[in-house]
Symmetry: C2
Subunit: 360 residues, 2 copies
């Protein structure tokens, strides 16, 4: 009883400010009526999947499962509603002890204001199925919106709620621009662990900074250079490929597969920039000597693989040092490894000028 | 089954990197053997409480309940162990949908390195009772440590684990310094909602920046200028009082109680600086017009109360504008209101020079 009371108090306490309920007369429209962005493949098993159906039973089971998390996907729409709400159902109702549910399985709304994407508010999950008001008391001006989908869960269904009298339609503005996207291949960190809300994963931040769609192929714990994934991503007509999978591979895997992974991408994309990213320097490595050694060993090997790739006369291969990527105060992670919004923003700010040049 | 598998995969995926298990031969020692810092009152009902026992049945039930959350408390110790672990039991096992369990009820370890507190790693909770290795593979050098306690849960018991052969003792270095602490009175945000781990609440960051103990009297949703709380905090021999409760009070409460709250502190502390902090500008207010109006109305009234206090010839009253306190990119919160590590670091960086002057 005491626990219940405390939980109740906390729930109330944390939500008591400024959440008006202008939602009495909302209509809900299935998100399939609008535009889905950030998707790398058209031929997926379910709408909100990240890998082509052809990889089912081909790629390893965890990669396949994780491809059903929606990281990087977003719904673009336009409305003049004074309030915006959402009804959504996730497939896993995933829970983790270092990741806020809002980031795992919530939604995150941005609006285009003076040509820039600005945070509006997040939709916090209450379990497998949620109905939540995201924002209310707006002026009712026609605006462009982007609703980021869950980073670490699948989506069975999504409806967007607006006032019954409001108009809602597909977007009129092409932003983030649809022209050749940036493709990220990587780990849990690439997938967005552990952002507080979907808009704060580093690929999603970069998408706003670059005004360019991103394709997120981060697979938590499973960015292990699977060659069939390379075959798939090589089919994307990309402006740049970013390979940021080092935390998930060991030295043997790097030796065995990294060069081959590059070769597969190169075969179909001879002139597209590929950025090889070092593993970030996990802050706890400054205390854990074995992690320190391992990370430096991996980064040294990556540099060697990069040098060899250059020697193959690859003129579009680029290298990103981990140095300062997440800052220098050791505060950017929740657990020594996974980035918080603080770490993700720093990573995006540091990668932004690099990618800005590469995608020109 | 699919859900179970997915959850299993994710759990593994997120924890597979660099968590060695040098913990075979650990001894666990009750934290009561070391030094508990950040505590404002000696006469509490339970060791890890934040308000004096005399307020039981006197202050409102939610304030009393929340005073049993450990925000701001930390254990100081010294050891030469190569590995550090913790066994702890929380009282509530609180869950929230926009707050990572690691921040709600985890522990967070820092070490004093070259005279500065540096993040070592966090201890992630696995329910009501947890045993977790925090760090291993260290050199075994004698070092000073600080272990932050849960922000949003109570602590029934805590034991610190070190190698059986290692020494562990009370600290030898006085840092953060014990001399007159800074006292924070406030809301959920002051209490640390929604930091990813305990060390990242803004009062805890400021404690490291200022090298000074802080007393956290943030009560989620309940920083409502309760006068009996003012009576209690007026008894603390503080270097500065920071009043940051505006998000939790309405205009009527401000008119009725703010000046009286100040008066109670002043009576016993005629010369101690008091910093009145405006409500931060919640990013969603740039879309929700009613929130926009309300926040500006509250800040305008606060300014008026401050001016009146100055007129009473109070020479030690100070005013902190919200302007830029959490940055200007609207990205500092998880839900438009509660700060992430990003928002907390910005808030601490902005308050640091102000408090540095005031506590001299």
């Amino acid at each position: 009883m005491r626990l219940f009371l405390l939980t109740l108090i906390l729930s109330l306490a944390l939500t008591n400010a400024g959440r008006a309920t202008q939602t009495d007369s909302l209509k809900y429209i299935n998100a399939t009526n609008f535009e889905l962005i950030g998707k790398g493949f058209a031929d997926t098993e379910n709408l909100y999947d990240r890998l082509p159906a052809s990889l089912k039973g081909v790629t390893r089971p965890p990669v396949w499962s994780l491809s059903k998390n929606c990281s990087g996907l977003a719904i673009r729409f336009r409305t003049n509603s004074k309030a915006i709400a959402a009804k959504w159902e996730v497939t896993g109702d995933v829970v983790m002890n270092h990741f806020a549910p809002s980031g795992i399985k919530g939604l995150d709304l941005y609006a285009l204001k003076d040509g820039k994407w600005q945070f509006v508010n997040s939709a916090r999950p209450s379990g497998k199925a949620t109905t939540a008001t995201i924002i209310s008391n707006m002026t009712g001006t026609d605006m462009e919106y982007m609703l980021y989908l869950p980073l670490y869960d699948g989506l069975a269904n999504l409806e967007i709620g607006v006032q019954a009298t409001a108009e809602i339609s597909k977007p009129k503005v092409d932003s983030p621009r649809k022209e050749k996207p940036v493709v990220f291949y990587g780990t849990s960190i690439t997938q967005g662990g552990c952002a507080s809300r979907a808009g704060m994963s580093y690929p999603n931040i970069l998408s706003r900074m670059l005004d360019r769609q991103i394709i997120n192929l981060g697979f938590s714990g499973n960015g292990q250079l699977d060659l069939e994934v390379a075959e798939a991503l090589a089919n994307i007509d990309a402006s740049c490929f970013v390979i940021d999978c080092l935390p998930n591979v060991n030295i043997a895997q790097m030796n065995e597969k990294y060069a081959r992974f590059l070769e597969i991408i190169r075969k179909k994309n001879p002139d597209v920039p590929i950025l090889m990213v070092e593993t970030i320097l996990f802050p706890h490595m400054y205390f854990d000597q074995s992690v320190y050694s391992l990370l430096h060993e991996k980064n040294a090997l990556l540099k060697k693989i990069y040098t060899e790739q250059k020697k193959k006369n690859d003129k579009h291969i680029y290298y990103q040092k981990a140095d300062k990527l997440i800052g220098t105060d050791f505060e950017a992670t929740v657990d020594g490894i996974h980035l918080t919004d603080l770490g993700f923003l720093r990573m995006a700010e540091n990668l932004h000028p690099v990618l800005h040049k590469l995608i020109k």
